[in-house]
Structure formats: structure tokens, C-alpha cells
Symmetry: C2
Subunit: 290 residues, 2 copies
């Protein structure tokens, strides 16, 4: 099953028979104070820089979130989208829990964007799915039910199924649903990652839809997070995840390596091309710093 | 199924329900010129240093190989084993293609050592398995048949099966066979890793034996080898590999991270302990260098 995303001129195909798709996560003021400050000041140079850098490092699409205290998010979203599109042409993922902000982003996003996200709560389903349907977008479905995040893989499969089935009744096809099986930190619960891996397998088997996994929550609160995040990304890719909202600068080489190892990179072409491009970027960034 | 290795005072248990076992690979002059030179000069300080460093960085056992031009390997093996045992007490893996050298190593290795390796060629089976049986050792079984390394996972499963069955007729139980499904470089063949992953699954399912994978061949000839090797180790661990002859300094944190993610590290205890220990080692080694 293929999920198609589009910008003005580019198409990104997400699917199990395709290389893994990276959706850049950095355009999000949560955890990036400097971006929040720039938005408050209506200074979009930093937005442009973050957008360009992520695409340079291999992001196939970009997540856009403008949630920050003191910002009119409905007014801000189109401005950030415009700034992003002034420097890169990739599909966008409009990221908000608020339907009005999603609508504001979807109105100005070109092509076929992605919505981040809907979950299985009735209120959310009723608010978000019609917007997705109206715009002809794809949507990330978080495996959360009325009672929160189910502890078991079976519970998360049920939450995913509820969203997929509800979407179908509105005319949103399964290929436009990307399930996020969620991962909590292994620092709090040693089975946090195995539940996610099992959910991926169950959802793939039952619905065949695409799967997105965030690869940094898993290591929250632990030291040496890069080792955990890299290993986790390789594990979810093998289990059947097909895309991730992630930091391409930190995890791009792991993604390219795992694609190569999983037989999705004939003659190592993508791996080698990525290595050469990022080697050059590393030099340029070091020179710019010095 | 558990494979038990022993030194004078320590036991190492290899099994699917246990943390992944690292067998240090550095005591091998192939690719380590300085060690070859030290052996030629009968200088064992470097041997001791390599042995101690690998155990400090998390090696549960140590591979010992003395193959080098200009060395009487039968005479050298006991000297290296003695040097190793003077600084660490971990099970040893005696590594040679020559039965006389294996016997020399097995005579002086304490407890229950591992033999590296036997393959499925009749000549090798006849030469090596009786030595393993006589010493009560465990043995690594390379999935190589009379025609070399089979291209398919099914062919490698057959080679593994031949060794396991032949060993059984001599009274060597399956738990003392650790199958190495072999991996060629993905630089030459894009399916090299997927064949290995599939072999692991087939061998685990058919025989339930332990699986050892070398995690550095896979990236031979490619740049950014650490990214490939780390991702590959995570993938083989998920597929069912239970140990690896590897470099603990380079891959120890990936092993601890993957164990944690695969639910084999309750409360992150091993991961945290390893992080703290290696953080200290890193500081000490940097200070010693400066």
C-alpha cells in the first residue's frame, strides 16, 4: 500500500517496498527555544534555515508545528508554511492538535499534505477526519483510544482499527492513513519498545497500512540517547515501519544504512550518495562555525 | 536452548532469553599488524592489554587467533592463552582452521571453551568435530557446504543442519553448536544482509540453536562503516542472533541499547551500568593518550 504526498512539484511515495521516508521534525518550537523566540519576533530566517538544512540532510518532507506561548497559531501557520516553501519544495506535514490550526495550514500547503495527527478519541475523530477528507490529505493516526494509550499491542491495534474504519466511512482510504504505534520511554518501562514493535507487526498484518514511528521518545531520560535512538530506528524499520518524523541530521545515516541492509538500496547507490553529500555538509558546517 | 561456556571461575550463558553475548575479536593478528609483530617478538604485553581492554569494555568471552606469517602457531597458542589468563578470567574461543592449533589451544584453555570454527565440508567435519567432542567444548558452525557459501538462506540452513546432525552422531548436543549464518558485504550484493537475516530466522525456527554473527564484514569496502555495523547488529539481534564475535569498544553501546529495546534489560540496569563504566574508561583512555 502506498501513501502519496505531494508538494508543488515533488511526489513522495511511502510504502514497504520503498526506501524509508524521513519527515524532518525540527520545525517545532517544543524543545527548540530559539525557534519559538524567532516566531514571536516574526523573524522567519531561522525557519528557512531549519527547513533547508533538514532537506539538505535527507528529509523527504517537513513537519510544521507553530505551538508556542504568545503566538496566534492560526495566523502564524501560513506564514511559516510560506517561509518554508520559499526555500524548499517538499511535501508538508501540518502538525497541531487544534482543528483550526490544521485548517489554516492545510489551506496554504500545496499538493497533498499530511496531517499530524488524529487519535481514536471520538471528539478528535469528529473534529479532524472531516478536515482531512475535505482537503484530500493523508493523516497520521495515533493509537490512542478513549482511555489513553493502550498498554498492549492488541489494544493499540484496536485503536488503529477504529480510526481506519471511521476514516473509511467518511471516504478516506486506508492508504491515506499512516499509523503511529507510539513508543514510551524504555527508561520507565522495559517493555516500552517491544510493545511498539509488536504493534507495528500486528497493524501491518491486519491492515497493511504505512507506519510512522517517532524515534527519540524511546530514550527520554536515559544517557547515550543516540545509541538507543539509532538501534530503535533499525528495529522499527525491520519490523515494518515505513516513515518517521525525525531529525535527519542525527539519524539519516542510520536510515540509509538500514535501508541498504534491508535490501532497499540496489548497488548501495543511495547510501553512497548520502555519505558523499553529508560529508560535504559536515565540512561546510564546520567551516561556517570556525 | 542455552550454550554454556566456562573459564576457571566464570560461566557465560548464551541464549535467546539472555542478554546478547559479546566475544571480543581483537586478539587476531589479521588486520592488527601491531599484534602480529608483538607475537613474532614474543612480547605478550600487548596481548594482555588487548585482553584486558576488551573485557573492560564488556566482552563476555575472548576469541584467540594467532595466525601470522613466521609464527609457530601450535607453540604460540598456549603462550597467548596463558598471557590472556594472567589478566582476565573469561571463557576463551580458540580460533583456527588447523586442527593441531585448535588442539593446542583447547589443551590449555580452562573450563569449557568455544571452538571457532567448523564448516559443513566433509574434511572439516571429520577433522574438527572429534576434537570438540573429546574436549567437551562448544563449536561455531559456519554455514558453508562442499560448494562454498550457499547463496540462499535455504542452502545455508541445509549446511547448518548437516553440521548439527553430524555433531549429534558423535554425541555433541545441539546446545553446543552455535551457528554462524555468515554475511558477505552489502557493497558487493544488495541482498547480502537479507539472506543472513532470513538464515537466522530459518535456523532458529528449525533447530532453536544459538546464532553468532560477525558484524563488520557486512560493511567491507563501504564508507561510514560504524553506521552500517551498528544497524546490522540491531537487525540480527531482533532476528534472533544471540552472540557475536565483535569489537566491544565499537559496538558495545549498540548491543546494550538493543538488549534494552528488545526487553532484555529490566529497569535499564545493564545499559546504565555500561554507560557509566565506559564513560569512565573513555576519560581514562583520553587522559592516558594526552
Amino acid at each position: 500500500m502506498h501513501t502519496l504526498l505531494k508538494s508543488n512539484t515533488k511526489e513522495v511515495v511511502i510504502g514497504a517496498d520503498r526506501p524509508f521516508v524521513m519527515i524532518g521534525e525540527k520545525l517545532n518550537p517544543t524543545g527548540l527555544k530559539k525557534l519559538g523566540q524567532a516566531l514571536v519576533e516574526q523573524n522567519f530566517d531561522y525557519v528557512k534555515q531549519l527547513a533547508k538544512r533538514q532537506v539538505d540532510w535527507g528529509a523527504d518532507a517537513l513537519d510544521v508545528n507553530v505551538g508556542h506561548p504568545g503566538i496566534d497559531e492560526v495566523a502564524m501557520m501560513p506564514k511559516v508554511v510560506e517561509a518554508v516553501l520559499s526555500v524548499v519544495d517538499v511535501p508538508l506535514c501540518i502538525d497541531s492538535g487544534d482543528p483550526a490550526i490544521l485548517e489554516a495550514g492545510l489551506r496554504c500547503a500545496p499538493g497533498k499534505p499530511l496531517v499530524n495527527s488524529v487519535n481514536g478519541e471520538e471528539k478528535q475523530l469528529a473534529a479532524v477526519l472531516p478536515i482531512v477528507r475535505e482537503r484530500g490529505a493523508a493523516v497520521i493516526a495515533l493509537t490512542i483510544g478513549e482511555e489513553g494509550i493502550p498498554e498492549t499491542a492488541e489494544g493499540r491495534l484496536a485503536a488503529a482499527g477504529k480510526i481506519i474504519e471511521r476514516a473509511a466511512t467518511l471516504g478516506i482510504p486506508a492508504e491515506d492513513i499512516i499509523v503511529d504505534p507510539l513508543v514510551l520511554t524504555v527508561g520507565h518501562n522495559s517493555n516500552a519498545a517491544t510493545v511498539t514493535l509488536k504493534t507495528i507487526e500486528l497493524v501491518r498484518k491486519e491492515y497493511g497500512v504505512n507506519i510512522s514511528v517517532g524515534a527519540s521518545n524511546v530514550s527520554f531520560g536515559l544517557p547515550d540517547r543516540p545509541s538507543i535512538n539509532s538501534a530503535f530506528l533499525a528495529l522499527v524499520m525491520q519490523a515494518g515501519a515505513t516513515c518517521s518524523i525525525t531529525d535527519p541530521v542525527k539519524l539519516g545515516s542510520t536510515v540509509r544504512a538500514a535501508d541498504l541492509l534491508l535490501g532497499k538500496d540496489s548497488n548501495s547507490m543511495r547510501f553512497l550518495k548520502y555519505f558523499r553529500a553529508t560529508e560535504k555538509l559536515r565540512e561546510q558546517e564546520a567551516a561556517a562555525k570556525a
